[in-house]
Amino acid sequence: MGTKNSAADGDRYVAVFDSAQFTALRRRSNAFIGWASVIFYGWWLLVILLAAFAPDFYRQDLVGPINVGLLAVFLSFNLVVVVASVYMRFARTQLDPLSERIRADLEGGLR
């Protein structure tokens, strides 16, 4: 619908976009997503690069048949759970209240 908005509606979005509240929300959200992605996918890249190019490192035994490689897999699965739950918590406590306020302002002002 973007292309069909009247100029006045577009201006309202721009005004919100430029507001201090929204800038704070955007920064917070982007910073989390950026860092979480870099750390999480950086970890994954490291895991698979080691498997491809340093297989002997992964073959070292830790406990019985469990080697470094299996530990890396186990940590990766747990990291999925950690990243998902930390982001859900962060969004609920840090992003949602702010976005709710902005939304109420924007939509409420029209009623």
Binding site: G10, V16, F17, L25, Y41, R59, E100, E107
Partner: protein
């Protein structure tokens, strides 16, 4: 040799229990019919049909997402893959779970908040409407065509592996199964639309999930919960690798000569691990699960829970795969590429005899049919919504609902005919190609749309069509097409790439989008502001000029409905316009 109908090497089928499998599949199909039929009464508008009225709660949606991940290749084949190829295959399984985080961090919340029915609803905020809609339809329908063929292939595989006991693939049976099961799935969609598809996916996730949990418990019980003994046995009983790689260490897929006639190892397997992570979630039919959520928040929660479930689910599959080789031994599992999908039914048969294996067959058949149905509704959504928008048509809701239902039948039946013809040839290359497209077109187009202020029409065009072109060219010169005993033309060799195209095409998709954007002077800062405000807050400014006709500009159908029910229903999303 490529697909199902081109007949994998014969194998002594000792596990199938066709009579019981049929006896399980038919009541399950009837149960799905009942669920779908119960959903039917609530469908009054196009949005009810395509998006389940945006009333799917987070828990139900998370289960439906899980159901959408569970395919023949990601459950049945992957267990055999782990049993045969050990550690490197385990990394592949891990990649699926790792990839699901992309849905949580990037796709789910913003895409639901922007709203609408397809990726096109996001693209139009950053690019001119017509090309944006066409780009969305092209990506969605190309993905659909390829994946649909692969899913029909999966129906054929389930039929030959679990509904038949002959050592050779029973091709007539596979063909009949594709037609019958395909028609049943089309009918499910026709009757119940997205509410029906959602219930069906939830049922499927519960069935497959319970089956996997019970199987894991049985495997672990055999080892008195001692995972160390299980791993020791798996290593000891593993199919020996010619190059001497252990089962539990890297090498079986990374090592030299893992890929026939290729000098590109270990990059081949590495590229697969990267492609699945960046492309696996970028499938338009998975995005439908975000659009049906009651709010952006619920979409995010369902993606988050689904990622957690996925992480647990795939760890169970790894235990089952290693347990299979530990308990059945090297000769008891599928011992080559084509027979990996026999490992799970053999293990199930070993534990529970014909009743268990028949149950597996019935559940597997319903599961592959469910995926076909979930994909069909995505294709219908894009075909109806994107193409209508590109042509500037605004049908009345009642007329549009009729059009949608008709499209279900037309697209479904055309798919069945064309798909069944393509199955023998293309099945093997299509699943990875879809994942590569997710990496080379969908991911860059959406990341740029959501985060880059400068992004514009030309950038979108170059990303989508450039990524698509590179992927198709790379696949044409890949070992899926020639130069490999398992390829389409095993006797000719014009392959260049053994590596998965996603590794190259993904970054190239980003590069094309960048170049296209900066070479065009088009720039829409207001569009970016609108997209960002909507994506982060879910707010929608209702057009003010004329509330009654103005709302018809919105890309959803429900807003035009005169009765109050649409408003009431959409209040869950707390959007005053009731549109998003």
């Amino acid at each position: 040799m490529t697909g199902v109908l081109a007949a994998p090497p014969p194998i002594d089928n000792t596990w199938a229990a066709p009579a019981i499998a049929i006896a399980v599949a038919i009541p399950l199909a009837i149960l799905v019919f009942a669920l779908v039929n119960a959903a039917r009464g609530g469908i009054r508008t196009p949005n009810d049909f395509l998006l389940a009225g945006k009333r799917v709660g987070a828990g139900q949606n998370a289960l439906a997402m899980m159901g959408a991940f569970m395919m023949y290749s990601t459950v049945i084949i992957i267990i055999g893959h782990v049993a045969l190829n050990g550690y490197d295959a385990i990394l592949f399984v891990t990649a699926f779970a790792v990839g699901s985080v992309l849905g949580v961090l990037i796709y789910a919340g913003p895409m639901r908040n922007v709203g609408g029915h397809t990726m096109g609803d996001l693209f139009v905020l950053r690019a001119r409407e017509r090309p944006a809609r066409i780009a969305s339809a092209v990506v969605t329908l190309v993905t659909y065509t390829m994946f649909m063929v692969a899913m029909l292939g999966a129906i054929g595989l389930v039929a030959t592996r679990m509904f038949d006991t002959s050592p050779e693939a029973n091709l007539p049976l596979a063909a009949v199964a594709m037609v019958v099961v395909g028609l049943v799935a089309i009918l499910w969609v026709y009757m119940g639309g997205m509410p029906g598809v959602t219930r069906m996916l939830v049922l499927k996730a519960i069935l497959v999930g319970s089956f996997v949990v019970v199987l894991t418990v049985v495997v672990l019980a055999k080892y008195k919960l001692n995972i160390i003994d299980l791993l020791d046995d798996a290593e000891a009983n593993a199919n020996p690798d010619k190059r001497g790689y252990d089962l539990l260490g890297p090498g079986r897929l990374f090592g030299e000569n893992s890929t026939p006639n290729s000098g590109q190892d270990p990059w081949v397997h590495l590229s697969k691990l990267v492609s699945v992570v960046i492309g696996g979630m970028g499938m338009p039919w998975l995005f439908m699960r975000y659009y049906v959520a009651t709010s952006g928040r619920d979409a995010r929660r369902s993606a988050g829970w689904a990622a957690m479930f996925t992480a647990g689910f795939y760890q169970l599959l790894i235990i089952i795969g290693l347990g299979a080789v530990a308990l059945l031994g090297a000769k008891g599992i599928g011992t080559n590429y084509h027979h990996r999908d026999t490992t799970l039914p053999r293990l199930v048969d070993d534990f529970g005899g014909e009743w268990a294996s028949g149950l597996l067959g019935g559940v597997a058949m319903i599961s592959v049919a469910a995926i076909f149905a979930a994909m069909l509704i995505n294709a219908v959504t894009s075909y109806t919504k994107d193409i209508n928008a590109a042509r500037g048509r605004q049908p009345e809701p009642a007329a549009e609902l009729k059009e949608i239902r008709r499209n279900v039948l037309v697209i479904g039946i055309v798919s069945l005919v064309a798909g069944a013809a393509m199955v023998p040839v293309f099945t093997r290359i299509f699943i990875p190609t879809v994942v590569d497209l997710g990496a080379s077109t969908v991911l860059p187009a959406i990341v740029y749309s959501l985060f880059w202020r400068r992004f514009n029409t030309r950038g979108l065009m170059w990303t989508v069509y450039g990524g698509l072109a590179v992927t198709v060219v790379m696949v044409a010169f890949s070992n899926g097409v020639s130069g490999d005993p398992n390829s389409w033309w095993p006797n000719s060799d014009f392959k260049i790439f053994d590596i998965e195209p996603g590794l190259i095409a993904g970054p190239l998709g980003f590069l094309f989008g960048y170049l296209g954007t900066i070479t065009s002077s088009e720039r829409n800062d207001a569009g970016f502001a609108e997209m960002q405000v909507r994506a982060l807050t879910g707010a929608v400014v209702p057009p003010r000029n004329d509330p009654s006709t103005g709302s018809a500009n919105l890309p959803t159908g429900s807003v035009g409905v005169p009765n109050g029910s649409a408003d009431k229903r959409d209040r869950g999303s707390r959007t005053p316009s009731g549109a998003h």
